[in-house]
Amino acid sequence: MSQEITVDENFRMPPPEKVGREPGSLTSIVQSLIFTVDHKKLGLMYIGSGLLFFVLAGSLAALMRIQLAVPENKFLAPETFNQIFTMHGTTMVFLVGMPIIFGFANYLVPLMIGARDMAFPRLNAFGFWIFFFSGLLLYFSYLGAPGIYGAGSAPDVGWFAYSPLTAKAFSRGHSTDYWTISLLLGGVGSVATSINILVTIFCLRCKGMTLGKMPLFVWMNLVMVFLVILALPCLSACQIMISLDRYLGANFFDTQAGGSATLWQHFFWIFGHPEVYVLIMPAFAIASEVIPVFSRKPIFGYPIMVAASVSIGFISLGVWAHHMLCIGMTALGNTFFVISTLLVAIPTGIKIFNWLGTMYGGKIRLELPMLFCIMFLFQFLIAGLTGVMLAIAPFNWQLSDSYFVVAHFHYVLIGGLLFTIFAGIYYWYPKAFGRMLDTRLGMAHLVLFTIGFHLTFLPQHFLGFLGMPRRIYTYQADRGWDLWNFVSTIGVIFQALGLLFFVANLIYSYWKGKKAGDDPWDAWTLEWATTSPPQEYNFAELPAVRSRRPLWDAKHPDDPDWKHE
């Protein structure tokens, strides 16, 4: 695969920049971002806007931690606190998690399967912009929501918006409508992008890449988009129902008129639980690429990994009511959801052992992506174990809606997802920008952020055991919660410092980083076969593959993988 551009019969020249603006000027950059349908640019735009929203939602979290640092604090008013945890949760799930994982899938899937772009490039741009505007709409509520009725500002119903909080009687003004319509729009964008990714994987693989030869990253993203396609429409249905209730006087969730608040919980979590796996599948995907490359071994148990991912996908569709073990379902209902939830632990455990099996006996290189993945293994194990604990109904009755739950899902989403996203950024940044991220700044980021993360969230397990409920805006001094809350807030400082090093690194290395070359990690998947950054058409000549590690085959013609697979 040479770097020279050779003309191939399928290759169409990208259209020249149409309007004659100076290249490199601000207007031309903005114009190229708005008009682009290139999967790589859109991927980076997804990740970039996801990181912007991350800073925003992270600042909201910091405000909450300041408020909770000491008992009976007056830093935030109770109604402001409600708005902040709602906006924090909604933003982190829909405007940080989703766009960043779509960004990775967008950037990498076509490269990894040897394609020139996504199946529907314009739909791809549509998906991005509709997501972006849904984010703006949500935050516009701070300005627009007081509007006509003069009540309310940002949404304050919590990210799962339990009924009847969203009813017109309890949520006056338009704040809930901003939440509803923003999520409805975001859902449309997510489904559009997911359909696009799924079609790309099924229809655009390069010659020789059978399903069994796809990189695990692609497989796990396939499971991710499959879950989005099944789960997000349920959320859209929920949002349509709320809107009908609020605007046309329908009675879906109006208990006074025969509606059911429980039904909302079922419908929301039918979406909500698969959504958790939507967010964690890309973490598995990144770990499954990084760990083999830095252990210098092919992934251990490829077919089992695929089977485990697919079965996690299926099982996750039938576990939603473990979020509702406290609402008084029948014993049969409780038992069913406890058992189905515990079943998830089996394929997940298999994955962890497979990653360990990959590292076992490997020649491990402790570079930054690998270090973040190793932290992921430990932290995700803790998250999984607390998850199994919470799945046991009696335990859940004791700790549901306590800080133990908060600690659990932050270990999943930060310890699991965010750490692998960092690993992915350190791993693929050289591909996207042609320069390595600085190792020393990166180490500072790793150390500070890891310390900060555990300082913040480990004590929250204890707070849960001590009976501190989530979502309270303050607490009395005699509860025994002071110390752990204070420690938890101190952790935020370390996390923020770590993130500063990370952002500094992203900016510094863009100009001053070491030149990366095409394949700095000596990796094996197709994205490393093209230039860094790749040309708009990705590959001068479309590749053809004969094994799961096409670049290994190219580098070792004497002993290619396809002789063994």
Partner: protein, 196 residues
């Protein structure tokens, strides 16, 4: 694995358009499932009337029109692949007309329910779930009609060629899906809930 590693053999993958529309149909099915479940969940739980068995009549004409349109769109596709422009135009136009008739039929049914029976979306949970489920379906029929009309107008201007059979097929998949949903709605709303 030797067969798979042989790169000289043909490499054929499914058509993006078809996989795309089938995936969209899966997503739409998930959306409808929630509304159907809501209907079933609230069946027989309305606190006050009117109840389904008092006001709903089996929509014979509308259903015949909609199911018939699935057959006529198949005939239109066959005509296009056979290269007969006139027959394509006839069957495609008939499909569109049947779709439009279905919408008028639903509109007159709703008119009667609202003005004569006094059933609106906020009357009871039957009204809520009935109008949202049937309305969501009708909305999909309307989107289908717009797609059908686009193709019809293009065909009138002789812009549709046999090469376009895949584009047309994608629309017909969607139209069949709308039909299948109507089978579910018919069963749940007009058969099961009027008998309980």
């Amino acid at each position: 694995m030797n067969a798979a590693t042989d790169l000289t053999s043909d490499w054929k993958l499914p058509s993006p358009r078809k996989v795309g529309i089938l995936t969209l149909i899966v997503a739409e099915s998930a959306l409808f499932t929630i509304f159907v479940v809501a209907y079933l969940y609230y069946m027989g739980k309305s606190l006050n009337g009117p109840y389904p068995h008092e006001v709903l009549e089996f929509p014979w004409l509308g259903s015949i029109a909609l199911f018939g349109s699935s057959a006529t769109i198949l005939a239109a596709e066959r005509a296009l692949r056979g290269g007969s422009h006139q027959r394509f135009l006839f069957w495609w136009g008939l499909t569109t007309a049947l779709g439009i008739y279905f919408i008028f039929f639903t509109a007159s049914e709703w008119w009667k329910l609202i003005t004569v029976d006094g059933l609106t979306i906020d009357t009871n949970t039957f009204g809520t779930t009935f109008y949202s489920l049937v309305g969501l379906h009708a909305f999909h029929v309307i989107v289908g009609i717009i797609l059908l009309l686009c193709v019809f107008l293009a065909a009138v201007r002789k812009k549709i060629h046999p090469d376009h059979h895949e584009h047309v097929e994608v629309i017909s998949y969607y139209w069949h899906f709308v039909d299948c949903i109507w089978i579910v709605v018919l069963t749940v709303v007009y058969i099961i809930s009027t008998r309980t």
